[in-house]
Symmetry: C2
Subunit: 161 residues, 2 copies
Amino acid sequence: MQVTSQNEGTARPLRDSVEQAVAEMGDSWSFLILRDAFFGVRRFDGLLKTTGASPNILSARLKKLVGFGILEKRAYNEKPPRFEYRLTEKGRDLYPAIILLMKWGDHWAGNGDGNEAKSTAKPPIELIHRTCGKPIDPVLECDKCGEPLRVHEMDWKATGD
Amino acid sequence: MQVTSQNEGTARPLRDSVEQAVAEMGDSWSFLILRDAFFGVRRFDGLLKTTGASPNILSARLKKLVGFGILEKRAYNEKPPRFEYRLTEKGRDLYPAIILLMKWGDHWAGNGDGNEAKSTAKPPIELIHRTCGKPIDPVLECDKCGEPLRVHEMDWKATGD
C-alpha cells in the first residue's frame, strides 16, 4: 500500500473491512477455534482440549461464531441430544487468512525479543497440497497479472459511497 | 486441510504457529494499529484518531507490538523529542494476512444475522496493484504448482520434533 505522510493524523471516514472482520474475529480464542475447525475438530469436548479454553469461554465464543454465521451448530445425535460445530461457507472462506497467519507464525513468531530474525526452523505443521502432492508455502498473488503481491507495490483508493 | 473425525477429541501435541501468531497479534486493537500502519499512519496522535482506541489502550498495544519486534519506535524530532512507529520486516510480512482479512470482510462481514450470503456491495476500499495498474482481488496460491488453494485440497502433517 502506498505509504504517504498525508494520511498522518487524518481520520479516515471509513469503517473498512478489516474493522468489520476483527469485530467478528478479533479474539485469540476465536482464531484457535477456527484453526481447530479447519483441522476437523467439531465437538465441544474436542475443542476444550485443542484450544485450551475454559468451558465458559469456549461456550461464549462458539455462540458468537454461530451468531455471525461462521460456524453452524448441528445435531449429530438425537437421544441424548449432541451437537457439533461445522464451518459454514463464510467460515471456510477464512481459511486463506488463517493459513497466512500460520505461515507468518512459522517464520516470525515465538522469539519476541524485539530483535527478530526470520526463523529457519522446521515449522511444527507442514501443509501439503493434495492437487500436486507437494509441501506448500502459500503465496498471495494478484488475480489480474499473477505476480506475487508486495506491500510497496499496492495502492488503495476509497471507493466512496 | 483434511477434515477427519480422527482428530476429534485428540489434543494435538503441538503449539502450532497460529497459536504463536495470535499470542502476538490476537487483539482487535493490534489488528487495527497494523492496518493503519500499512496505510501510512505512524504517529500516536494519528493512530488515536484512526483506530479509535483510548490513549491507554493505544499506548499498551504499541508497547506490545514494539516488544514483539513488529513495530519499531523511531525519533523523528529531537527537540522536543517526538517518535513514530514504523513497521519492521516482521511487521511488513503480516501484510498478506491483513489483506486477506480485509477481503474476507469485504465479502462477508457486517450483516452477522447468522444467515449469511456473500456481499455484492462495492468494498469501501479498493486495492490497486501498482505493477499492473489494475484493481486486485488477491488469491492465495500454491508456490509449487501455482494453483489457487482451497480448503479441501490441503492436507497437513506434523513434522515432529
